[in-house]
Structure formats: C-alpha cells, structure tokens
C-alpha cells in the first residue's frame, strides 16, 4: 500500500550523518573519518514499506541502526512521530524503544545463546513493566503462534532451532512490544532461498495484521522489489535515487540505479543475451570519497561538472521521484 500525500510521515530522516573516526598511533590521534552515512534524507509514511538498497558498505545498515539509535548519529535528525530521537536522552530513548524495533540480519548471533526463547521474548515486556512474568510468557506463546512456530519452542534455547525458525524468533521478539516502526536489517540474507520467501511473506502478513511500518534494508533486489512500496537507493553513504518500487524498476533516473538493476540476475534464460552494462573500478573508500558526485569515478555518463559539484537530491518526474544526478536518465529501462 502506498501512503497518501496529506498524511504526515511517521519517520523523517534529515541530513543524517554517521562518521567513524580513524585513529592511529600511540595516542590514538584521529586522522580522518569513514563517512559511512553522509547526509541521508528520506521519509517513511505510516503503513508503508521503504526499501533501502545498495551494495556492501554503502551505509544502509548504519542508516538502519542510526534510525533506531543503536548508534548515535554524528549529525542530522531522525524525527519519529515528531520527536527527534537523535538527541533524545538515554532514559527517554529507552522508553521510546517500545515503538521502534529492529529485526537483525544474523539470526544466529543476535539471539543470546544463554536464554530460552520464552524468556527472550518475555524480557522486554517485563523490562518495560507492561506485564508480569506469567503474563509476558503467555504473550510470548501467543506471538510464537503468530510467527508460525510451535508452542514448545518456548522452552528451547536458540541453538536448538534452525536458521529460519530463529529469524522467526527475531521477528517475534521485535513484535512483542507492538512497535509502530520496524527496521529490518537484511532479515533474509542469512537464510536459504527457500526460507527467504517464507520469512518475507510472514513480514508482509504481519504488516497487515498489526499495521506495521517497515524500513527494509537489503542488497537483494528481489526481496526489495517484493516487499517495498518505495525504494531508496544508496551509494557510498549517500542517497542516489528514491521513488516508488514500480517507478524505480520501470524508469530508473540515476545511472547507478540502472547499473544496479542491470546487475540483477535474469531468471529467464531466453532473456540472458541482452547487452549488459559493465562497471569498471571499485567502490571508492568512504574514508576518502571522491569530490563532486561520489559515483563519477564509475559512471559511464560522467561529465566535468560531476567531478566538481555534488548533485543535490531533486524531484525528477513525479513528486515522489527524486534523483541526485546532474544528468538524470531520460530513457525507459531496457
């Protein structure tokens, strides 16, 4: 479902930056910064799914973690329902965590091996004093059924479950506090392909059932296309393009998006002969990003201006389609 224009966004990310200092020497002097996220802005409307896509190291996971303040942003604001969580006190942030949850990428390492599934799920309810122990456990049992896990999983330890089951536990865990926004950080990339579809469908079903809003981070275009209403394309810590899923796939405006779509494997063998765009070179280091447009080093259409001037994210063809490029593509996607 796509949000209507006059509804105010649930989440507004504005000029979000997250730099990691590079320290060296005996006294750990800061000699520079890795600009993992460098001025990212996007909106998320209630009930929609915004997919963030980009290759490894583009800053999409860092963005996700900063959105739920598992890392403090270096600058910028993250407005959740009008409250800037980037500057919220630790105590107030802890209370707000009931509204903002995260599903993590690795279902193996993100569950504490020492704690039984039932206690794992009940813990946040007890911590936020919503329910007593018994009540929280009953709720946990209910939630396990919702995500399609047998009730006896309650007394199991995480290592006794399979990867798919563990990710269901991770999802159930995020749902326990009935949050409004869930950031899914590559929730299926650690799973077998056959399990991926099950988990994606589960996420979709739960969205309908609980009226959830998702920020869905993935490097897999298939999953992104399947689940997202809108897509944010990131490269080297910056947003390249954002539009509805249909728009992005039908009319990519940014050369990077075009290349990204082109790199996606074509399942139909009869169509595999098409001309492919080959990009040369590696992704530049986020510690030392190129001047101008960060993509100019690999862009087949780069001009002089691209090497000096940073393109801003501008509306391009439709109010909700924005692209950060001096020369947005005009042609239809092949």
């Amino acid at each position: 479902m796509t949000a209507v224009e006059d509804v105010s966004p649930l989440l507004q990310v504005r000029d979000l930056r997250r730099y990691y200092p590079i320290r060296t020497g005996v006294i750990a002097r800061t000699v520079g910064h890795v600009r993992a996220v460098d001025g990212v802005s996007f909106d998320v409307y209630p009930g929609e799914t915004v997919g963030i896509v980009g290759e490894s190291g583009c800053g999409k996971s860092t963005t996700g973690r900063a959105v739920v303040r598992l890392e403090p942003p270096t600058s910028g604001s993250v407005l959740f329902d009008g409250t800037d969580i980037a500057t919220l006190s630790t105590a107030r942030m802890r209370r707000l965590r009931t509204e903002l949850q995260m599903v993590f990428q690795d279902p193996y390492s993100s569950l504490n091996p020492q704690i039984r599934i039932g206690d794992l799920l009940a813990e946040p309810l007890v911590a936020h004093k919503r329910l007593d122990r018994a009540g929280a456990r009953a709720k946990a049992a209910e939630m396990l059924a919702t995500v399609g896990l047998p009730k006896l999983s309650l007394d199991r330890y995480p290592h006794e479950l399979s990867g798919g089951m563990r990710q269901r536990v991770g999802i159930a865990r995020a749902l326990m506090l009935e949050p409004r926004l869930i950031v899914c950080d590559e929730p299926v990339s650690a799973l077998d392909v056959s399990i991926q579809a099950q988990v994606l469908n589960l996420l979709k079903d739960l969205q309908g059932e609980f009226g959830l809003t998702y920020v869905f981070i993935s490097h897999g275009l298939g999953a992104i296309k399947y689940i997202s209403d809108r897509i944010v394309v990131m490269y080297l810590g910056k947003v390249m393009e954002t539009a509805t899923t249909a728009e992005i796939f039908a009319r990519p405006k940014h050369p990077y998006t075009e290349i990204l779509l082109d790199a996606y494997p074509e399942p139909d063998p009869r169509l595999r002969d098409r001309e492919r765009i080959i990009v040369e070179g590696d992704v530049p280091s986020p510690a030392n990003p190129p001047p101008g447009c960060v993509f100019h080093t690999r862009c087949p259409y780069a001009q002089d201006i691209c090497r000096t001037e940073v393109p801003s994210l501008n509306a391009a063809g439709g109010a909700r389609h924005q692209v950060a490029c001096h020369f947005p593509l005009a042609q239809e996607a092949s």
């Binding site: 965590r97 949850q101 993100s110 504490n112 704690i115 290592h159």
Partner: protein, 316 residues
Amino acid sequence: MVSYLIRRILIGIPVLLGVTLINFLIINLAPGSPADLYLSPTATPEDVARTEAALGLDKPVFVQYLNWLTQLLHGNLGVSFQNREPVTQLIADRIGPTLLLMGTSLVVAYLVAIPIGIFAARRRNTAADYGVVGASFLGISVPHFFLGLAMIYVFALTLGWFPTGGMVTLGRGGGFADRVSHLVLPVVVLATAVAAGMVRYVRSSMIDAFGQDYIRTAKAKGLAASVITNKHALRNALIPVVTVIGIDLSALIGGAIVTEQIFQWPGIGLLTIQSIGARDYAVLMGINLIAAIAVFAANLLTDIAYAVVDPRVAYA
C-alpha cells in the same frame, strides 16, 4: 552425562599412573640417599646399606615403584621415613588447613576479580581500565615469597595488625576471630595472583561479550544497562572464565606450598617442604598423588560446570 563421567574417570587412571611414575623417577634421580640424613657422619658403609635396606631403597627403582603401587592398591601410602608415621595419617592431619587456605583464597579471588573485570570492561581504554590492567600485571608478576614477606613486614611487624604466621595463637585457644586474623595475610598473598590473572580473563571475556550481536539485540529491547551487563553479557562471559578455574587450582597448589612455608601454615605445603628437606620419599609420593587427583578432579568439575553454564554444551 553419567557414561561421559565414567569414561573420563577411566581415562584418568592411566594419567594418574603416569604422573606417579614420572614423579617417582624424578625423586629417585636426585643424587644422594635419604639414609645420609638419618645417620651420623661417622656411620660406616654397612650402616648406610642397612638403613637403605630397611627403607626398601636397596632394590632397583622399578621394583621400588611396583612395591609402592602394590601398597597403593591396598589403600596404603606407606610410612614416613622420618618418623614412621603412616603417610595417610600425616596428609589427613594437614589437608584441613590447606583446604581452608586454598578455598578461602579462591573465593576471595573470584569475589574481587569478577566485579573489577566487569568494571574495567565497561570502561575499556580509559584511565581506570589501564589502572586495572596495570595492577593485574603487577599482581601476576610479584612472586609469592616476596609479597608474603612484604606483607609480614608491613602488616605484621610494622603495623602489628595481623600475626606473622601460624594458624592459631598458641596457648590462647584459637577462637574464630583469632583464626580469621591468622588467615588474612596468607589468603591475600595467594588470592592476589589468582585474582590478578582472573581480572584479565573476565575483562577480555566481557569486552568480547559486549561486542556480540545479542547485546545489540538487548539494547534494542530497551533493557536497562545493568540488566544488559549482568544478565546478557556476564552469563556468556563467565563461560570461558569457568574453564580457567581448573588451571587456577594447579597454580594455587604451587602457590600454597610457598605461602604455607612463609606463614608457617600447618598444611600440606609446609609438609611438602619439610619432606623435601628430609628426603622423605614416601610422604612426597603420597602428597604428589593427592595433588594429581585434586587437579584431575578440578578439571573434571570444570568440564561439568561448563555443561551447566552453557546450554549448548552436552556430553554424551
């Protein structure tokens, strides 16, 4: 689990046999004879031969060892060369004080090391952390005899807070307070080395745990920092720490020998030193066997504890 335990104990038997054999050989490799110590300088070679025969030392080393083993199978550790007392009786008299000293030291060491290790881990790479790491390095490096003598000089001689040695004040009954005040200095000496090593284990183990994904999950749940530290991180961090207890125990036995000597603590350690001085082979072999069994049992208990604290570990 039961079949695992039985298997472990069966494996332990040849290990213990090997330990006793090697020890027997080492003791006998030392030049000279115990008989030299028990006879006057004017003794004739015949006297020496007679004494050696009485002690069973005239036979080849392997026959001596087999004799010792045969006795052992009858539950008999032999008699002391020095005073003809049964070795079992000598050890039984001394084991209580040693267990008291080592047990108290181990408990004190852990009670001190775990909170300090957590403290350092939570403030890693700060001045407080560097202070803890530096102090632990000092604690590991200082030898027992030096620390013991320094303690006696400062706290017993100069300040007079604690007695210089022994387990009770002679002729004054030895009430609870008296025993505790005798226990303080040797416990501090023994616990220092153990705690200093343990602090480093706890610290690095906690730092490792804090970096785990499930800690991020716990933060995302909105749990209080104390719950994250004490429940999520500590529970996982203590798993590797538990395994070190077995190793610590062997270090503790070695440390106890020196510490008991310095503080004249009437335990196994003091008996060991006295027996080495007197070349009392029978007592030394008995002590050695008991120590080997203790280390073996400690390692077995460690493995069992491992299964208890880590639900992923199951023995079959």
